[in-house]
Symmetry: C3
Subunit: 131 residues, 3 copies
């Protein structure tokens, strides 16, 4: 059930945007072992001047910020695997590894209202969070 937001600062084609979103989703499936159909990925393409980034980046137009809201409980190891999987999967799309930041928001289950309006803490998720 993670909800991922990807922010970029250049214009991509629709196909490129979909590929970036698929890459982040695949990283979540791989590292957090979520069901593949549990997809919630949004992309915002900022005008370049509306996404200020470090002057030290070699290709600032490729700066990419990934923010993921997910259930708390994943181990540091699972998170390390996620960060690596995100950069591994974005690199073939032309996004340099050192231009990507991934931020995880660890949300307690009682703070997550599942589809239907039920708290996640009152529901059998059908998959493991403590990985």
């Amino acid at each position: 059930m993670p909800a991922a937001l990807i922010e970029v600062r250049r214009a991509y084609t629709v196909d490129e945007e979909v590929a970036i979103m698929d890459a982040v989703h695949a990283a979540l499936v791989e590292a957090f072992r979520i069901p593949p159909e549990d997809r919630d990925v949004r992309l915002i393409a900022h005008a370049p001047h509306r996404f200020a980034c470090s002057p030290e980046l070699a290709r600032p137009e490729l700066r990419t910020l990934v923010t993921i809201d997910c259930f708390a409980g994943r181990s540091a190891e699972a998170k390390r695997a996620l960060y690596a999987a995100v950069v591994d999967r974005l690199e073939p799309l032309g996004i340099p590894r050192d231009h990507v930041t991934t931020i995880v928001h660890d949300i307690p289950r009682e703070s997550w209202g599942l589809m239907g309006g039920i708290a996640a803490s009152d529901h059998d998720l059908g998959f493991d969070v403590e990985i």
Copy 2:
């Protein structure tokens, strides 16, 4: 003082967007008992391809994600009431209950700078958070 963000993936009319925002605000007033004038609700309408969602949704164009930053302290019961109120109030607008997710970010008061630049932990809020 909660700050709510609603993300949708289809084009609504202005009136429909306002109705969706009013519904989420009313849910906050009801479940979290905030003052009605404490309104901070934003809506982002993503292009459909920029908001990927589960292939299992009956009407994917109606997928709706609500993210709420609010002071920590609400009970699990208050949160349950919020999730139910959000889906109860969006359903009459045509959004199926099982197409809505609500995520709460519980923010410690010292991490919230109120209007005026004062930390919320240094201020009498005028309402109860521990409900």
Copy 3:
């Protein structure tokens, strides 16, 4: 490495938007003592009806919401300094002090994948977070 998001509800010129973003970044450098080159600031300008705010605001078009993801560890004192610095620096740009809210998301270092895909908890940051 804080990642700041500024949300506004009126149209500004590009120069005005850049000045607002520079102001928030300068507040972070001042109050959180981050390196000046550690810049990650985005701005979203909502259509007015998509950013509902309190009817009590004198100039609702100037309502400004700042959300900052940063490493956990800053003291309450550093956060107070941040809230004050944000309003101090936005006021000369015409944004009233009591129209600004700043929300801090304190992110554990293991939940932050640095550029390159390395967890921040595995890396020497080169600056202090516990200030």
